[in-house]
Symmetry: C2
């Protein structure tokens, strides 16, 4: 029976094994992609690596503990940098990953992303792509301090089999409190609304709705948290304009989120409040393993598992049939997750 | 935005809402299905309800705490009985569910189960079915005592759209220890091998392999535990013969499992051992939410969520990049999950 497990895994794996490195190369791009720094691949990698530095520095300043770093490259190009802070003073687990991937996707994924309706030969195989992204989840210890997730990414496909080169941007930042504090929800949404408004007056409403529809735990009839913004497949204006918007969104992570954790990190709490947080962490696990596209895609394609599942909380709880009592803060939170109110009306 | 969440859920829901009942009816079958007790639907319901009584009684005897019961019926027929023991003296969470479902499945599911290759009109809709089953997961508190899962079920489709009536049995019992103790593994597998051998000398090898191939956490390259037996789509001999085998398998749950928990329930353990157990519980969650067909099917079709997710442990842990040291019992367990040894060679 040796081999059953390995076979099952290998049959689905499409990403090469990683080679760990102590020194991260100045660029994770293939040598042929490294030019004078003016290509979007180069600019995007530079932006996400700087964002990783800035955000982990801000978290370490608030927590007092350093991140642990793992970095790797892949034989065919690309690689990643995972930074994880575990069992800190303020955060139970906080991770910020950067990754550069040279891979291939099924033609349907290309079509979904580009809106292309051009017929594709059924035997044509997979579309080669380049992807670079930063992604992060942070789970604080104190039940009054919220969890935050963000992810900003850039995709490019090669010219392939008669299909033109395509590119698009995606991303978003969203907040998942265990206890919903209106003032905090307004601060978080307000920060992103201001960023959106600077770039397009329609962005906030559009991207907030996109988050509302994405971060749903279908089988519970609940949202994961109080949402934020989410966008994908963006290529409706020139790339530099969308790049600037992505850069501004990544730069808003610290001011939208860190003050909320600093404000609540020393709040007193009871054992029951900690248990409620743990149950909401269980819901977070349910969303990520059942619905989250990045996670389910990553698990199937053989990316680095510890980086993909870095998003899961350190601990979680499933208590049979728990329903908070009327009039409690737990009930208020649950009602927010069921009704999904507006925070910047 | 009120309604976004409800809409997302309703669009996938195919099972009716449950009506809770204090007194469980003597049969959960539709009235038209209740005859003189000789139909397989009646015999199977009777068997699983008796098994639920026997198994919960044995667990309560070992634990000292009673199960909480929730029971419901559905307007169109069918219903369920969930029994959960939470925060017991020995078990952290133990659930045993019985359910009877009148539903419909896509024609591909019918084909997969029956091996039918008869062409089906694309517009023919869904195939009506009857299903009755018992399912259970039990997670003990002590890290030296194993988790156990079992599930025995009977399916029947109605004659439909030119397709003949079909029926099949499925089921299995498997063990998930955090620490692999060879003697216990041999007891568990040996008990099921003896049950199999009484019914067909080829059953154990065949159904053990089926379990080995099913209980794999693909993205980890690990099995969930040390397996057991698993079978599905069984209709290759007369129904009463397979029914007797299913009945014997359900009756073997207590002797194969309970003595192992009784043996280890008071074993001393360290905080590190409890953490290892919690990390293996995290793997259990990964398997159930990502791969388990019963769970993923249940979440999508709108079954009773608290009964479906009763299988999740009370608490679980995800620690970044934990790898047990060479020569430790944790490493031995992990090697068993990676290599999948034989226990009845």
């Amino acid at each position: 029976p040796v081999g059953i497990v390995a076979q099952a895994v290998a049959s689905e794996k499409t990403i090469e094994d990683e080679t760990y490195v102590d020194e991260v190369p100045w660029s994770l791009l293939q040598e042929g992609c490294r030019g004078d720094g003016s290509s979007m691949r180069e600019k995007f990698e530079k932006m996400i690596r700087a964002a990783q530095d800035d955000i982990t520095a801000a978290i370490t300043e608030a927590d007092g503990k350093e991140f642990h770093q793992d970095a790797w490259t892949r034989p065919g190009g690309g690689g990643g940098i995972s930074r994880v802070l575990q069992d800190g003073n303020v955060w139970e687990k906080a991770g910020v990953n950067v990754s550069v991937v040279y891979g291939s996707m099924p033609p349907e994924a290309y079509r979904a992303a580009t809106g292309s309706t051009k017929p594709i030969d059924a035997d044509a195989g997979r579309v080669p792509f380049f992807a670079a992204g930063i992604s992060s989840v942070m789970h604080p210890k104190n039940p009054m301090a919220p969890t935050m997730h963000f992810n900003y990414r850039y995709f490019e496909t090669d010219e392939w089999n008669g299909l033109p080169k395509a590119w698009w941007f995606g991303g978003g930042t969203d907040l998942t409190p265990s206890y919903v504090i209106d003032e905090d929800a307004k601060h978080f949404h307000g920060t992103y609304k201001a960023v959106c408004d600077e770039h397009d007056p329609e962005y906030y409403a559009k991207f907030k709705k996109w988050a509302d529809e994405y971060f749903i735990i279908g089988h519970r009839g609940e949202t994961r948290g109080i949402g934020g913004i989410f966008f994908d497949d963006q290529n409706d204006r020139d790339p530099d304009t969308i790049f600037k918007f992505s850069t501004a969104c990544a730069a808003a992570v610290v001011p939208s989120y860190v003050p909320l954790v600093v404000k609540h990190k020393d709040d007193p709490f009871t054992e029951e409040q900690k248990e409620w947080q743990q149950m909401r962490r269980g819901r977070y696990v349910e969303f990520n393993l059942v619905y989250d596209r990045g996670t389910t895609f990553g698990l199937k394609t053989g990316g680095r598992i510890e980086s993909i599942l870095m998003s899961l909380p350190l601990t979680a709880r499933w208590q049979y049939d728990f329903e908070p009592e009327e009039g409690t803060p737990e009930r208020y939170a649950l009602e927010c997750f069921r009704k999904n109110p507006e925070w910047c009306a």
